[in-house]
Symmetry: C2
């Protein structure tokens, strides 16, 4: 049995007081690294993430931006931060256009009548009352759709049937999700009356994956929906027979009013430089089909639990640790962009940032985006994290959709890369529920975030946030 | 590369002609066993089952008894038997009361509003218009519900939350499905207004499992539905908090008119005793949520393909091989019972029977229900099948729901036990679709059925069908 945490913490607090001032080029001291190693092991052994996530998924559940669940999630987050003992808890408004799901039905009318399982893509318009009926034309991917001759799709439904492969880093998401984002515009240009895509997912469950799509005001808008993977296979099998396949598609989605939600924030105050902070977090909103356990309840829970773990064990960081639960990531990064805008004059206070938005973990690699002089510190961080199975990454981190605007401005950021091998089995589906969470995976992620946040907050030097190197790099990337 | 089948078949046909008359106590000859071994290996290498099943699930799909899909399935089966070259194809009428699914919705009203995924159990009545609203009372299993004091459930919804464990032989199905069958009656006795069960399944997908339930005319009838496994977990997590949980349940199911479907039958005629036949088959109907790939498209496809394989290769059996695709198994074994009744005077012609209704396989054990004198033949069969990984079972086979009535009368039957370790992940859910079929598993099952059917049809003696031993055993079992 491990030494009781309170005893160790008391000892550590005494040790920490004795640490001398860092030299300008200082590395982490042995004592600091020992503290970090204790955090790593003790947090992996047990923390509150699993209970926090159970609470969020059970007591709130679906919390699509702009829905009733959104407001319940904000209230839950504020209350939970307070219950967990955070020093400061507040919220910052984020406004955005809302979208509402309605009826969604698809059926094959001929030659083989049977129903298909679909879900509207986020942002889709509705079909006319009673739905639309049209023949289906299949494409292997978005490029094939783009290559179709103009007006070849007149009056038809375009069906993009690109399968997605599973990788730990999810690198097939980008090439696959392209059709979800741009398919309706490309199909609309060719005269199509609707878009169907194969779900952007690596499972074979009869559960469709929703997700955001875009329109172009210069192109005729058409309803857009995803078939579950088995339904995409079924439709493809029908089409193989060479006869025209006629579908009926009924989508009742609609735009709602402008809605104001909140980034909800909890902070553990730093003991020395409290205006500087390490930013960790995830996004509080989810899609509506599941209860948002892996996307992104897990990211919220693991970062809340990481900060809470330090605080509960008397480990007061030198700089503050701020947990930001971003509003409406799913429908356009509204929370992350708003956070950037609201804090644009004080981004130098973001000492370092790391977001968790790729499932429950475990964390398998540490990436960074810091000034070169700070790389020895990153190496020390990775060495402490190595016993968790975390390898060294590169210095081009761009992880975290809600950090994108701040990364583009030049903050120092880190990527604690979460293992996404099964993430896209569940992502944006009804199957994103709490029963999929494996406590050991979540605990490892909390250990990584707690250890990293501690070391980042107590670093002997800065990481170059908003300094010449990172700002220059960011500007170069934008050109 | 294997010797072309046609060459081997021609050689075998010559060999078979030369086989001498069997003595009364004869075993299978070495030549017959060699033929069987060739069938085993060649059928495992390739056969039409996968293509047949693709055709059924693509061109027909859901085929719930009494639905439009039922009629399409009957037409498909007749046409497919003819296309596959069966010597005789016919159908026999089967009438039953039909049932129709309607709207199905559940949501938690308090204390944690969110929707739950449910499906009506087959046979359920509807809720009153607008649904019902009531508090939930949970029970660990049917026995706990039965043990509740009279009227303790007055005005409430009973929720039976028994998980099911996965085993190759599915032996946890019986103890778990008890609540699906009898839960509404037992809850109705205590004054409940609705029944919810945890889906009878071994998955954790947000897809509920439907299946038949029963009423008792002496007990108040209440609507009955299944929550998906994740939703049962979610509801249980809410209940753990100790506050009353209030649900809204809306079920729109209703009884339909009496419907006449058909047992569809294809036969390969025997060369010597064509009025005697080996009966193999599965049930043609499915539930409505999926496309009935594993339940029981697989059983239909593997038995059709097994008989077709023999016929296509010129292997003419001495006795006939009859493939019966039973109507409406799911809602009360109507097809099997009707087959028994229609053929009750000629059950002695059922030389041996084996049904496939437990998924795609592989077959892992050979059970029998034969006269003791025939057991040496069963042993020889198993020895031929052993290279497929098929072990010896016992002589108390009762496999095959559609054979139940005939087994109870005293026919000789066999069980080619299908590996059901993942069967209840998909059973009766939308996820029962063709993409779940692994061709190698299906091929092994076809090889087992083809080999067994050949040996059964060519057996040197009878297996005791309707003889004193089996009739006596059946009578004893009924007492």
């Amino acid at each position: 049995m491990r030494t009781p945490i309170s005893v160790v913490a008391a000892g550590l607090a005494a040790l920490l007081t004795a640490v001398p001032t860092f030299a300008a080029d200082a590395l982490y001291s042995e004592r600091e690294l020992q503290t970090a190693a204790w955090i790593r092991d003790a947090a992996a052994d047990g923390n509150k993430a699993y209970a926090i996530l159970e609470s969020l998924t059970t007591e709130v559940g679906p919390r699509m931006a702009g829905s009733e669940g959104d407001a319940r999630a904000v209230a839950w987050a504020e209350a939970k931060f307070k219950e967990l003992g955070f020093d400061k808890v507040w919220k910052e408004p984020v406004s955005f256009p809302s979208w509402q799901r309605g009826v969604e039905r698809a059926e094959v009318l001929a030659p083989f009548p049977q129903h298909l399982v679909v879900t509207a893509l986020g942002g889709s318009i509705a079909t006319a009352d009673g739905g639309l009926q049209a023949e289906v034309v299949a494409f292997d991917n978005l490029d094939a759709l783009k290559a179709a001759a103009p007006e070849t799709l007149a009056g038809k439904i375009a069906f993009v049937n690109k399968p997605m492969r599973a990788f730990r880093d999810g690198h097939d998401y980008g090439p696959t999700v392209a059709a979800r984002g741009a398919g309706a515009v490309e199909a609309g240009k060719k005269g199509a009356v609707g878009l169907l895509i194969r779900s952007v997912g690596t499972d074979s469950d009869r559960l469709p994956h929703t997700g955001l799509m875009r329109y172009d005001d210069k192109v005729n808008k058409i309803p857009a929906a995803a078939l579950s993977v088995p339904d995409a296979d079924l439709l493809a099998n029908m089409l193989k027979r060479g006869q025209p396949v006629k579908l009926k598609l009924e989508i009742g989605a609609k735009a709602g009013p402008t809605y104001t939600s909140y980034n909800v924030i909890g902070e553990i105050s730093g003991t020395e430089k409290s205006s500087d902070y390490v930013l960790i977090g995830g996004h509080l909103d989810s899609w509506d089909l599941g209860t948002g356990a892996i996307d992104d309840g897990a990211g919220c829970a693991m970062t809340m639990a990481a900060a809470e773990f330090l605080n509960r064990n008397g480990l007061k960081p030198k700089r503050s640790i701020r947990v930001v639960l971003f509003a409406n990531e799913e429908q356009g990064l509204f929370g992350g962009n708003q956070y950037h805008d609201a804090h644009v004059k004080e981004l130098k206070n973001v000492h370092a940032a790391a977001e968790a938005d790729f499932g429950q973990g475990p964390v398998y690699r540490l990436d960074s985006h810091v000034k070169p002089q700070a790389l020895p510190l990153v190496k020390q961080m990775q060495q402490v994290l190595a016993p968790l199975g975390i390898e060294a990454g590169g210095n081009d981190n761009s992880d975290g959709p809600d950090l994108r605007a701040m990364n583009m401005a030049g903050i120092a950021s880190f990527g604690l890369a979460l293992d996404g091998i099964d993430y896209f089995d569940l992502h944006h589906t009804p199957n994103d529920t709490f029963d999929k969470i494996e406590q050991a995976r979540l605990n490892q992620s909390v250990a990584a975030f707690a250890t990293w946040a501690w070391l980042a907050a107590n670093s002997p030097t800065d990481f170059g946030s908003m300094g010449d190197y990172l700002v220059g790099k960011a500007k170069a990337a934008q050109h």
